[in-house]
Point group: C2
Chain length 369, copies 2
């Protein structure tokens, strides 16, 4: 076998599949790429048995071959080679030889009857999404995905196909994000939960153009030109998130994002693994934020201009969660919709495109001072 490929093109292809390779695994086979050369096409497959990522490139090769190569070592070798042609060939003693104008690099390859295959799945639903829009939805929601074995349904992003569009929902029980793509239309009325690791890999190769998504109850497939990504879905029922989003939060606070974000940054200086509570003291047109660290006998307190038309209120939040939410809103103004110091608070952008809806929810913490 011998074929040639440009090093930078090869690097780009491998960089798409390398994130799937698990860093730790009890099955050493999974730390390899499967190279499948067939009828002038090289297919590279990487999997951790939950996620399958397959990419294809046309090459000139007369025969068909199928073998495994160490993923990280191949990727690092190719990445270190400057922009030039690489010839790849299979040599005796199970050596995959890479040859360039500068040198020769040998990696061990192997063949095995134990194979990793892309599962054959009878997908029954197909939708099309813009890569940009999918990427934006992931960016807005992924930070709030849960991470607890006890509540597996929350360890992914919910795709909820509804009358008002495609909703992306994430929650860890303390905070919740609902992002609605209102322009998306489909007859589907189903829910699918995409696991955290799949989301993270997906967002790496989304750039522009459309992406085709195929779905069953247990698998989702994302297809781009020359790239096919399959992930197992989380087979649990997602919590009824609508029931926790309050309607009666009539105390409306409007505040400049830049002001509150900059104040939170200074409150974080006084926070620690044990001390996370920040107190908001909100009065008419005055927003006071403070933190008190009893372990280091230190404290911070700032007052910011705001617009507020509700009852004066003292309410506590986890400062790390508050920071996450404020950082993920990209409007000039942020709106807090409050009910009482013990009820969920809604946080929304001041301005929002007609095409989407963004709602974040944060549970308060009980004030201890």
């Amino acid at each position: 076998m011998e074929f040639k490929i440009n090093s930078k093109i090869f690097e780009k292809i491998l960089s798409n599949v390398i994130p799937v390779i698990p860093s730790k695994t009890t099955n050493p086979l999974l730390q390899n790429f499967l190279f499948d050369i067939k009828d002038g096409q090289l297919t590279i497959l990487a999997t951790d048995l939950e996620i399958f990522l397959k990419t294809q490139v046309n090459i000139v090769s007369e025969k068909n071959y199928k073998f495994y190569v160490p993923a990280k070592l191949l990727f690092e070798t190719v990445r270190a080679i400057p922009d030039m042609i690489i010839s790849l060939s299979l040599e005796p003693n199970n050596q995959l030889k890479l040859t360039t104008d500068r040198g020769v690099y040998n990696l061990s390859y192997f063949e095995t009857s134990e194979t990793i295959e892309l599962p054959e799945i009878p997908f029954d639903k197909e939708i099309n999404l813009s890569s940009d829009e999918l990427k934006r939805a992931i960016e807005k929601t992924s930070f709030a995905v849960g991470d607890e074995d006890m509540r597996p349904a929350m360890n992914g992003i919910l795709l909820d196909f509804t009358d008002d569009g495609l909703r992306f929902v994430s929650t860890d029980g303390h905070r919740l994000v609902k992002f609605v793509n209102k322009t998306f239309q489909s007859d589907l009325r189903e829910q699918y939960i995409i696991p955290k690791k799949a989301i993270s890999i997906l967002s790496k190769f989304l750039s522009d153009g459309d992406i085709t998504v195929n779905l069953t109850k247990t698998y989702a497939q994302f297809k781009l030109p020359n790239l096919e990504f399959i992930t197992r879905l989380i087979g649990e029922k997602y919590p009824n998130y609508n029931s926790v989003i309050p309607f009666e939060n009539d105390n409306i606070l409007k505040i400049k994002k830049q002001d509150i974000q900059s104040s939170i940054k200074r409150m974080l200086v006084f926070a620690s693994d044990d001390i996370k509570q920040v107190k908001l003291n909100i009065k008419e047109n005055e927003f006071n934020i403070s933190i008190h660290n009893i372990d280091t006998s230190s404290s911070g307190q700032e007052t910011i201009d705001c617009q507020y038309n509700g009852e004066p209120m003292e309410i506590g939040f986890n400062v790390f969660y508050l920071n996450d939410i404020v950082s993920h809103l990209d409007s000039e103004e942020i709106i807090f919709k409050l009910n009482s110091p013990s009820k969920a608070c809604l946080i929304e952008p001041g301005e929002v495109s007609e095409k989407e809806e963004i709602l974040m929810l944060l549970m308060p913490v009980r004030l201890n001072y």
Copy 2:
């Protein structure tokens, strides 16, 4: 007590002294800055008892005070405050209060009879150096400083005042760097060893202008305007480095730095914690570099153009050390002066300023294949 200072000026001052604060210490006092306000001057002192760093700034304060504040927390608080005036005041309950237009931050301060003082040292030698030149000497030598408790003399950079200028020498037993500042003149004929941590802190605040260095056998003091840095010296005899620098290395190899550095980068892909040996096979006008990793059954091999007028030679080096040396030479061409596969190799820049001399020495490793 109350005084005002601009946040960005305060941040700059604190950033000079914070590197001295030890991250782990059995003496909690050392994690604090000593603030000494006296006659309109604020002196901030940080020490780990080996290194003392003192910086001064004029302030308007009527009374004199001396107290300790938590170094990291103060630095982080000040760094998070945008460009504005901060008022500092001492309040009841041992609170140091920082007030700005935006907010109020309280840190605990304390006074103690246990004090950290700058040692009073009868310095008997004074020299002047340009900060630039000192910084360059440190950059060229510090990477080869040793790190073994068994050979404390090597755990610092030697300043050797000789007839041909001021020499900076570092070695860990495997490699050695000699950097000579040939324009430096002084009657001193002494040797001083500056410890690794002091070198690292020193290089952070060196910028431009002259620096005054005062010396005794046990301490060195570096003085810049408003900044005084004292370090204990390593009180050991430095190895006789001249005796290990060979004179009979007549096999001269000239090679482009860019070529060899780029090849080494790819050899590093195949190296590991256990496999560090790279083999150089040098013939007339042909330089071959290779590595063989028996653990992963992989290898790399490249051939580069060179000029070589000596005996054909196969010689092995630690690829990490070779990479360090090549990276720290900034000439277009690099010269290797070889003797035999078991003797020290000299590595020098192809071109060197008249004002300095740079010599690097690398011990070969025995070839095992």
